[in-house]
């Protein structure tokens, strides 16, 4: 059974979310509750709207219908000033890292501190070095983003995301394109940061094995709906055909291997106009 978090335990509450891109429905009446202090994973195949969901939570996109509350505030009813205030308490790790390419590693991590605090340069320096130490890259503070590997860039982006000690961090496909060592480091780092800083983590990913290691709760989404949710083990043991195919990476199942097309023979012998 899925543990139903009590109202005060819920940091992000999504109710009846509907969102379209053009005529294509990305979400149709989605309900999600993200408990405070836990690592929650939103999983699903590519193109199922996982990144869109993070952008909706962060207020970068506006839903067609439904309501998204973060820490009790309706994100899409906030004024720009209040939305920005809320975002200061939300960190986001983009798939590409999204580091500012004209700034060094140090300046990237210092950026939100310089923007939103009145700390002295010496205090900012100490904080930045501590954040970089937490991700193991204090020694790389003078490097430019172009000198970093993909894994290092994501760790710097993570240091920047935690610079303001946010209440939650959203991770957009943090494991994609990582070598096994970087992947292992990131997996442990996300869990460690979540527990040490007592923040709430939302991971959007389709990497089942890595995400299952650290997630407390998983939502599986596809075709604009939540297919199933629960702790990782429950989903692994799920009897649902779709969930089983996704969690175990099976070729056969309700998700077809082939994109819809006419029969091969018809296509091969069709006369070209």
């Amino acid at each position: 059974m899925i543990r139903q978090p009590r109202a005060k335990d819920t940091l992000v509450r999504i109710r009846d979310l509907t969102f379209h891109r053009g005529t294509r429905a990305i979400f149709e009446g989605v309900d999600i509750e993200i408990p405070r202090g836990a690592v929650t994973a939103i999983m699903g195949p590519s193109g199922s709207g996982k990144t869109t969901l993070l952008k909706l939570i962060g207020g970068q996109l506006t839903p067609d219908a439904g309501r998204i509350e973060v820490d009790g505030q309706d994100v899409h009813a906030l004024s720009t000033r209040d939305l920005y205030r809320l975002r200061m308490r939300m960190g986001m790790l983009f798939q590409s890292g999204a580091l500012l390419t004209d700034l060094s590693v140090f300046d990237n991590v210092a950026y939100p501190l310089r923007e939103h605090t009145r700390l002295t340069p010496s205090m900012i320096r100490k904080l930045v070095l501590l954040k970089l130490e937490a991700v193991g890259l204090r020694g790389a503070h003078q490097l430019m983003p172009s000198e970093l590997s993909g894994g290092m860039a994501r760790r710097v982006a993570l240091a920047r995301a935690i610079a303001l000690d946010p209440m939650m961090i959203m991770y957009d496909e943090p494991f994609t394109g990582q070598d096994p060592i970087s992947m292992g480091v990131l997996v442990q780092l996300i869990r460690r940061l979540n527990d040490a800083a007592r923040i709430t983590s939302v991971i959007v990913s389709h990497d089942v094995a890595e995400t299952s290691q650290i997630a407390d709760l998983i939502y599986v989404i596809s075709n604009g709906r939540v297919i199933e949710s629960g702790p990782p083990q429950t989903l692994h043991d799920s009897g649902g055909e779709w969930t089983r195919q996704f969690m175990q990476g099976l070729a056969d199942g309700p998700v077809p291997f082939h994109y819809p097309a006419p029969e091969l023979a018809l296509d091969l012998f069709r006369r070209l106009v």
Binding site: R85, R87, A98, L99, T101, E115
Partner: protein, 257 residues
């Protein structure tokens, strides 16, 4: 009826783009107070947009002035009027060629670079990253570029005209034997501060606004892929060039009626 539908669709699309461009301009102007608090951002962009365009504008100005000197002398000497070479060179540069050619060079060098930079920032999620860090990318990234473009263009055009006058002097006086005193004296007496110089400055300010606005809008609106960025830079140069040439005609008709 299909052509009518296509025409309607394109008209609507154009109106929508113009609307979005106007809203973007308003958003950038709202970022002015924040820019005043952080003048360093403007200085960085003045370097990138203005100073790095100096070389191409300076070299072009000298050569355009030299060509004007040659052509002017060739034609004027047929009427025994080579003494007016200085006026012809200066008037051509200050009224037309200075603002127009500078704007075309600016669109090719700084405008395309600006579009590509903003487009790549969008493609690599840097703009989204700023938003999620509670930093307004329109105020932080776009406004400094707009103001730097507006400040740089008249200065670059002035430099183009001054160097062009010296280019004309080098050819006319130095190589073709026009009297130096006449070259400068005619220019001094015939070129009017308001009619010629000030109107040229107004033109270059207008071109600065338009070229920079187009460059920023194209970069900000581009499809965030390599092809999208490439199309944005091309569009910047094409649209800016056409806008400069079209506006030049309109402004000239209004100023020198």
């Amino acid at each position: 009826m299909e052509w009518l539908a296509t025409l309607g669709r394109r008209g609507l699309s154009l109106s929508a783009r113009l609307g979005r461009a106007s809203l973007l301009m308003l958003a950038m102007l709202r970022g002015l107070p924040a820019l005043l608090r952080r003048p360093r951002l403007l200085l960085e962009q003045l370097l990138s947009v203005g100073v790095l365009t100096v070389l191409i504008v300076a070299v072009s100005g000298i050569f355009v002035g030299m060509v004007l000197g040659l052509q002017g002398h060739y034609i004027l000497s047929r009427f025994g009027a080579e003494a007016t070479l200085g006026v012809m060179v200066a008037a051509s540069l200050v009224r037309e060629l200075g603002p127009v050619v500078t704007a075309l060079l600016y669109a090719g060098r700084a405008g395309s670079a600006m579009s590509a930079e903003i487009g790549l920032m969008k493609a690599t999620e840097q703009l989204s990253g700023l938003e999620m860090m509670a930093v307004n990318p329109e105020h932080r990234v776009l406004t400094p570029r707009l103001i730097a473009g507006i400040i740089s263009m008249p200065l670059l055009a002035a430099m183009f005209s001054v160097l062009g006058v010296y280019g004309g002097w080098f050819v006319g006086v130095g190589l073709l034997g026009v009297d130096e005193g006449t070259y400068w004296a005619q220019m001094q007496s015939q070129i009017d501060w308001n009619d010629d110089v000030l109107n040229g400055v107004i033109k270059s300010v207008v071109f600065g606004v338009v070229c920079t606005w187009i460059a920023i809008f194209q970069g900000y609106e581009c499809v965030p892929t390599s092809e999208g960025v490439s199309r944005a830079t091309t569009r910047t140069v094409v649209h800016s060039s056409l806008a400069v040439l079209g506006l030049d005609f309109v402004l000239t008709a209004m100023m020198f009626d």
